[in-house]
C-alpha cells in the first residue's frame, strides 16, 4: 500500500536504502519497495544492517547466482549459519530452485524496482558469535544500465550502491571467453559509475570491496583454474579500472549449470530457449565468504 509521505508520522522509520520515512508497521518502503523488516529487526538486535548488492549486465546470471547463494546459505552448507528474516526472503531462492529443478531458467528480473525480490538474511560465520544482517536485492540489469546511462533515473539503484558495504559484480565469462567485448565494456561502465558515486572523494580509491564473479565459467574451465589471470586476459578494461581505482577487488569463477541444451518453439522458430539439463553449483559461496571477511 502506497502512503503519501506527508501523512507519515514523526516516528517514521527511514528506509535502509533510500532513507525515505515509512510508517512503523510498513513492510515495504513506499518509495523504493525495499523490505522494512531488516531495518526493524536490526533495530531490535542493535545491529547495523549491511547491504550487499549483486549487480551485473542483463543475462549475466545474477538471479541464478543469488538464488543459489541464498539456498546454500540456508542449508548451512557453507561456513555460515544463515537465517532468513521474513518469508519474503525465501521467495527468490524458491523461484530459482523450482525453475532449475524443472530444467527452466528463471524469468528475467523486471526492470522496475517495485517488482524486484529482496532477501534479508541474518548471517554468522560458524563458530563466531558475531551476527550481521545482509540485504541482497535481485537487481535487474536493465535498471542498472538505465541508471548508468542516465544517473538518477533509477534512484533505487543509486541508493543501493551508495549504501552497499560490499558488491558482487557478475560477469558473463562465457561471452568474454568467446571474445565479446560487451561484458568487459559494461563492467567498465559499472565500475566507473561506482567510482563516480564517491563524488569529492575521487582523489582516493574506492574502498567498497568488490567481488567480481565470472559466471557461467563451466564454458571456460580456465577461469576456474586462474580467475584473475582469466580476467586480465579477457576483461582488460575492467582489470585496468580495478587496478587504478579500487582498493579491494577479488576475482572468482562460478557456475551453476552442468550442461545446457537448446530448443525452438514451433510458434516462434527464431526464439531459442536455453534448457539447463542438470545443475552443479560451483564457486557460489566463495565470493560471499570473501566479501564478508572484508566487511567492517
Amino acid at each position: 500500500m502506497v502512503t503519501d509521505s506527508t501523512t507519515i508520522a514523526p516516528d517514521s522509520i527511514p528506509c535502509l536504502v533510500c532513507k525515505k520515512g515509512n510508517r512503523p508497521k510498513a513492510t515495504q518502503c513506499v518509495q523504493c519497495n525495499a523490505p522494512m523488516a531488516l531495518v526493524t529487526d536490526s533495530a531490535m538486535q542493535g545491529r547495523t544492517p549491511q547491504v550487499v548488492t549483486v549487480i551485473g549486465e542483463s543475462r549475466a546470471g545474477k538471479t541464478v547466482y543469488l538464488g543459489f547463494l541464498l539456498d546454500i546459505l540456508a542449508q548451512r552448507a557453507s561456513q555460515f549459519d544463515a537465517i532468513p528474516i521474513g518469508s519474503f526472503s525465501v521467495e527468490l531462492q524458491q523461484g530459482v530452485m523450482s525453475h532449475l529443478a524443472q530444467r527452466r531458467f528463471p524469468q528475467k528480473t523486471a526492470p522496475q524496482p517495485g517488482r524486484w525480490q529482496w532477501a534479508c538474511y541474518e548471517v554468522s560465520r560458524r563458530g563466531s558469535d558475531r551476527w550481521f544482517d545482509v540485504l541482497m536485492p535481485d537487481m535487474a540489469g536493465e535498471a542498472l544500465a538505465a541508471e548508468i546511462a542516465s544517473p538518477d533515473t533509477v534512484g533505487t539503484v543509486r541508493s543501493l550502491l551508495i549504501q552497499s558495504r560490499g558488491i558482487i559484480l557478475c560477469i558473463d565469462a562465457a561471452a568474454a571467453a568467446r571474445g565479446h567485448a560487451q561484458p568487459d565494456l559494461f563492467a567498465l561502465k559499472v565500475m566507473s559509475y561506482i567510482d563516480s558515486l564517491g563524488g569529492s572523494k575521487r582523489n582516493r580509491r574506492v574502498t567498497t570491496p568488490v567481488a567480481v564473479v565470472l559466471c557461467k565459467s563451466d564454458y571456460c574451465p580456465e577461469a576456474f583454474e586462474a580467475p584473475a589471470e582469466f580476467a586480465q586476459a579477457n576483461l582488460g578494461r575492467l582489470w585496468s579500472v580495478c587496478e587504478s581505482r579500487f582498493e579491494c577487488v577479488e576475482f572468482f569463477a562460478s557456475s551453476v549449470v552442468g550442461s545446457v541444451a537448446y530448443s525452438t518453439s514451433p510458434a516462434e522458430p527464431d526464439h531459442v530457449v536455453s534448457i539447463p539439463l542438470h545443475t552443479a553449483p560451483r564457486g557460489i559461496v566463495e565470493p560471499f565468504e570473501w566479501l564478508v571477511d572484508q566487511l567492517p
Binding site: A77, R103, A226, E243, S259, A261, Y262, S263, H278
Partner: protein, 346 residues
Amino acid sequence: VALRLFWWRTRSGSGGRARHLRPRKASATSYEPAPPEPLADDMIAQCLQTRRFGMVVSNRERWAQRADVDGAIAEASRQLRQRFAAVPEGFATLPESVREIPGSPEVDVDVQAFRLAVHPVTNAEYQFFVDAGGYSELELWPRDLWPQLPGFVDSSGCQAPRHWREGRHDRRRANHPVVGVCYYEAAAYARWAGYRLPTEAEWQMAASWRLRSLAHLPRRFPWGDALDTRRCNVWATGIGDTAPVDAYPDGAAPNGVQQLIGNVWEWTSSDYEVTDDYGSPVVGDMPMKSVRGGAFDTYFPAQAASTFRTGLAALVRANNVGFRCAVDSDFVAEPAAVGESLRERM
C-alpha cells in the same frame, strides 16, 4: 607540492599499480605424480598387467599357438567375473521429453543380460592407457576425431586427462574415478581394454534393477526410492570432490555394482536425444552423449536418480564426468547368471 604528492600517491597507488590485483599463479596445491610403472614387454603379460582382460579373452584365436594362452585366458576370465557383475535381462523406461514430468512420453527399451564393471575406471587404470600410448593408437579413435586428438591434453600439455600434470595422475587419487576425459577418450579406453561403454538403457537397467519377472516398479536408487547421502557422494553429502571408487559400499546395486549414483557422471555410448514440450528436438552446441548417475556436485536429488536422463557435449572434459566399462554376457567363458553375482554378495 606535498599535497600534489599525496594526491598522486593515493590516486595511483604504489608504483601506479595495485599489488592486490596481480594475478596469482594457478593454485600451487601440492601434486604428487604417480611414479611410472614399467610395462611388460610380452603382450599377454602386459594385457594382464594393465587390466585389459577383455583384450586377452577376445584374442584367444590370435594367441592360440602360445603355450600359456589357456592359463592367461583363465586368469582373465576370473578377473572379468570378479570385476564385472552380471546384470540380468530387463528393461529401461526412458523419458523422451526433456521435462520428465508424469504423463510425458517415454519408451521401454529391452536390455539383454550383460556384465557391468563393479567400479568406474580409476586414475591408476587410465594411467596404463596413457603409458601404453593409447592416444597415439589411431585405430582406437574415430577417423573424423583425429584432428582433435592433439587437444586432449592435461594441464601441462601432455596427452592425458585434463586435470593431470605431465601425463601423470596424482598418486593420492589413484583409486578415484578418472575425470577430465571426453566421451571419445572413454570409448577409446574401453576399446583398448577389450570392453565397451554401456548403453544408457543398460546403465539404467543396472541402476534401477527393473526385471521382467518383478512388478514394474523401478528403484529410483539402487538401494531404494529415497536419496541417502550415506550411500553416495552427491552435493548434499558435503565432500565437494570425487571419492575413491570403493567408497560407499552400502550404495551398491543388488549385484554389487558400486557408485552408480553420485561421485561422477558416467559416459554411456548412447546419443542424448530428447524433445521439448512441443516435440521439437533438444540440441546442444555440439553432438551430445548421454551421461548418467549424477556426481559429487549434483544439487537436486532427482537429478541423481537412476532414471534421470541428461546429456553433455561429447567433447567436454569435465571434472565431474568419468565412465565405467561393460562387456557382453557371453564374453566370459561361463554364462553370466545373475545368481552368480548375488551369491558372491551373500
